[in-house]
């Protein structure tokens, strides 16, 4: 008797899962197809949920008292077939927005994929052991798996979608964008020059080559100045004894908490009077000031973790302190220095506020300032998106290439953002 009660609950849970996954799959599939191929695929979420429910119930009923595995091929096939039939019936034989007879093969393959994804998702939520024997433990496990599955879909969508839109928009034409904002498909047959016309225009007419060079120059100088100041500073805090050491290392954190916008007015006023405002020299003075505290904080943590005995041995052998730093500490902490350097590079490259406030003349523009200057009604949208791609790609390449370095650095320094 108790088993029957549990079965009812299991069927309720399974039905819910079927509804949910049928719906999610239909929405994700519909939106994805629309955004990728530009043909709007109108899938009815409600009908798909119903089909998911039916398929799941069939899948559960086909369980021959645990003898058949949860992922048995015949069992999955019958469930998928149920899904396809119910979806077709519920949408009067046009499950994908067009009549089944129009493109039978494509439609059937799509239905099979959709049904397969739905049944597989439900089966995965129940796990290898199948749906029988539902206790509280297992019930919660199924819920957690469902949440996780939903989480993957959700996070992938919110992260990928904006970047996909940014990239694809940069290849389109203004008229196409306005005509159908859902159509992100690009026509590859139009040739290289047509496809990349926004990029070519940015480089030919908007001087983006120069902006890239300036951004690279400013970022590299910022990295060098930051390292030159923060390596000795971090060493002093990590190793040397002096009055106010703890107060100093604590106050570095305070510098993190000063908002840049508060510094803008005094710096703007003073730099204007000194003639530093609309100049790269001004930027190269301001950027290190914002990155040195971060770099110092990250490096001193690393230096502290190095064994002091090595340095003491160096001192005993007649090295000066600076010699010890140069010959022992720095070679040992190359990974940390590299991650700080990359991190500072990315901060300087991404910096927007000071570049926006200080730079007026286009010959001094950094890349991010250049992209902001594209934000006007006279410049078409795809140009701005092409500019956004140009400014983003180097950062993402560096990030993916050195991900391990950077992630350690990010967590070690609890870095500002």
């Amino acid at each position: 008797m108790r088993g029957a009660v549990m079965d009812k609950r299991a069927f309720a849970l399974g039905g819910g899962l079927g509804l949910l996954w049928g719906f999610i799959n239909a929405v994700v599939f519909g939106v994805a197809v629309t955004l990728i191929f530009g043909t709007s695929a109108t899938l009815t979420g409600g009908a798909a949920a119903l089909a998911g429910l039916a398929a799941t119930l069939v899948w559960m009923l086909l369980d021959g008292k645990g003898a058949v595995s949860a992922f048995d091929k015949r069992r999955l096939a019958i469930s998928v077939l149920t899904f396809a039939i119910v979806l077709s019936l519920a949408t009067f034989f046009s499950p994908l927005g067009f009549a089944l007879g129009d493109r039978p093969l494509g439609a059937l393959l799509t239905l099979a994929a959709l049904g397969g994804a739905t049944v597989a998702a439900v089966a995965c939520c129940f796990g290898q052991a199948g749906w029988r024997g539902l206790r509280r433990y297992k019930f919660e496990l199924v819920l957690i798996r469902t949440l996780k599955g939903f989480g993957f879909v959700f996070f992938s969508a919110i992260v990928v979608f904006p970047f996909y839109a940014m990239l694809m928009t940069s290849f389109k034409k203004q008229s196409e964008l306005l005509a159908n904002p859902l159509d992100y498909s690009i026509n590859l047959s139009q040739g290289f020059a047509e496809l990349f016309s926004s990029y070519i225009e940015l480089f030919m007419d908007f001087n983006f080559g120069r902006f890239i060079l300036i951004s690279a120059l400013v970022s590299v100088i910022t990295v060098l100045l930051t390292l030159a100041a923060s390596i000795p500073g971090a060493y002093a805090i990590a190793r040397l004894r002096f009055p106010g050491r703890t107060a100093f290392s604590r106050s570095i954190l305070l510098i993190y908490m000063v908002p840049a916008i508060v510094l803008v007015i005094p710096l703007y006023a003073v730099f204007s009077q000194l003639g530093l405002r609309d100049s790269l020299l001004g930027l190269v003075i301001v950027y290190p000031a914002t990155t040195i505290p971060v770099a110092l904080y990250m490096l001193q943590g690393y230096f502290r973790g190095l064994p002091a005995e090595l340095e003491e041995a160096g001192l005993m052998d007649g090295c000066t302190r600076l010699g010890v730093i140069w010959r022992i500490t720095m070679p040992l902490s190359l990974p940390a220095i590299a991650s700080v350097a990359l991190y500072v590079f990315m901060i300087a490259w991404n910096e927007f506020l000071f570049a926006f406030m200080f730079l007026d003349s286009p010959e001094n523009f950094t890349l991010s300032r250049g992209v902001v200057s594209l934000n006007s009604s006279e410049v078409p949208r795809q140009h701005l998106m092409a500019g956004a791609v140009i400014v983003t790609v180097p950062v993402l390449v560096i990030f993916l290439w050195f991900e391990r370095f950077l992630v350690t650095g990010l967590t070690a320094g609890s870095v500002k953002g």
Binding site: G30, V31, T34, G45, E140, L143, K148, G151, F155, I158, V159, P162, A165, N180, L182, A229, S230, P232, G233, A236, L240, R241, R245, R250, I255, M257, P259, V262, V264, I265, P266, L267, Y268, A269, V270, I285, A289, I292, L296, G301, M346, W349, N350, F352, M357, V372, N375, L384, M385, A388, V389, T392, V395, F399, V407, T411, A412, S414, K416, G417
Partner: protein
């Protein structure tokens, strides 16, 4: 290198004597200060002094236009031409102050004449010595033009040197004026403006809602994302890298992308919502009060969940597995384990992250500025600084808002150090 300067070294000697520090410790101390000197100097110059300067600027009547110090401007005009000996030419110098409101004092104007010109008329303020004109004006009132008139006749010597034009040498002018930044004119108008306006309370409310919403959103999303990454699956590394994209990408790129996606007329999001019949009318995400604030909060949560995600994931991976095994033996369910084992161990890092992100979100300017420009009820304190100082061109009022920010932050930071993490390294 091991010595900063003789003066500070003697100061250090005094400290050393007072604290009975030995010579080796003294040398170490000097070295430490020398090594920290570049950091201290640059932070002082670019962060601490400007921070203090805000207080000064906030009590001064100063607009964007007055930043450039008033200077005398001079233009030279000639009437007539010199074609033969005995021809006369008149020259007029027009002098005025470059500022519409500030006078210039102690003005001196210089010019050189070509040789061979006989003066017929000389302005009373000026002295002519040889080929040089020097004029002195004690004060140049704003908006008033002063004219200095001369007349010359040409002699043979003028044509012998090739008859150079008078304008070939440009007049120079110098003078003294008050520097608006350093004079002693003070006012409390800026603060009155900032506090009087009804918008002050709105700005306070919007800042608070935005900060709290953005922080909590990022933390909750980060916690959720970190739970996902605790499962082992193929492509986990790629997924983790992908999750960090919003955080590492330049803000201008992602903000403009959001603006386009959310556009009420040609944005993809609205097109999706209307074509799937979720809404019948398009939603103005960034242009309507309420919606706009919710959208910038969502953006903040989207952009910064990766940071929370990284920290929470790092903490979770360091949790001991045997606790979970023991709990499972005792019959704990997954939610119970999350609630009673994971969460209590994560609460430390979560509260640290909350405090840090709360402060940083409060400080955030770029995101809202790029998304809405502070319109439609999204004007936070930081956006208000820009609005007052650069949009309304009143630097003083902007600085007054900055001073408000300073005091609010000082409160937060005190809380942070009082209740924040005590452990090293975070």
């Amino acid at each position: 290198m091991s010595d900063i300067s003789t003066r500070s070294a003697s100061d250090l000697d005094l400290i050393a004597a007072a604290k009975r520090i030995g010579p080796i410790a003294l040398r170490e101390m000097r070295l430490a200060f020398a090594m920290l000197a570049p950091t201290i100097l640059i932070v002082l110059a670019i962060v601490l002094i400007p921070l203090a300067a805000n207080f000064w600027i906030s009590v001064k009547p100063i607009g964007l236009a007055e930043l450039r110090a008033a200077a005398p401007l001079v233009r030279e005009r000639e009437r007539g031409t010199l074609e033969a000996v005995g021809d006369t030419i008149t020259v007029e110098y027009r002098v005025r102050s470059s500022s519409p409101s500030e006078p210039v004092t102690e003005v001196v104007i210089f010019d050189t004449l070509p040789p061979g010109l006989e003066p017929v008329e000389t302005a009373p303020e000026c002295v002519l010595t040889g080929a040089e004109i020097r004029c002195e004006l004690s004060i140049l009132e704003p908006k008033i033009q002063t004219r200095l008139n001369f007349a010359f006749t040409a002699t043979q010597a003028y044509f012998d040197t090739g008859a150079p034009r008078l304008r070939d040498s440009d007049p120079t002018a110098s003078g003294e004026s008050d520097n608006v930044l350093t004079n002693f004119e003070f006012t409390l108008d800026n603060f009155a403006k900032v506090f009087d306006a009804d918008e002050f309370w709105e700005v306070l409310w919007v800042s608070f809602v935005y900060t709290l919403g953005g922080t909590l959103g990022a933390l909750i999303l980060g916690l959720f994302a970190a739970q996902l990454m605790m499962t082992n699956f193929a492509g986990r590394g790629i997924m983790r890298g992908l999750f960090l994209f919003p955080y590492v990408s330049p803000v201008i790129a992602v903000a403009f992308t959001w603006v386009f996606l959310l556009d009420p007329f040609s944005g993809t999001v609205n097109a999706i919502l209307t074509s799937t019949n979720v809404t019948s009318e398009t939603i103005n995400f960034l242009g309507q009060r309420g919606n706009a604030l919710a959208t910038v909060i969502a953006f903040e949560a989207w952009r910064y969940f990766p940071l929370a995600f990284l920290f929470i994931l790092a903490r979770m991976q360091s949790l001991a597995a045997d606790l979970y095994e023991a709990a499972e033996m005792d019959g704990a369910t997954p939610f119970q384990m999350f609630l009673h084992i994971s969460l209590p161990q994560l609460i430390g890092i979560m509260s640290t992250l909350f405090l840090l992100r709360f402060i940083w979100t409060f400080n955030k300017f770029d995101d809202i500025f790029l998304l809405t420009g502070g319109a439609s009820g999204t004007r936070t304190f930081t956006v208000n600084v820009y609005e007052q100082a650069f949009a309304i061109s009143n630097l003083g009022a902007g600085a007054a808002v900055a001073v408000c920010i300073f005091f609010i932050l000082a409160g937060f930071v005190t809380l942070y150090f009082k209740y924040g993490p005590k452990e090293e390294g975070m």
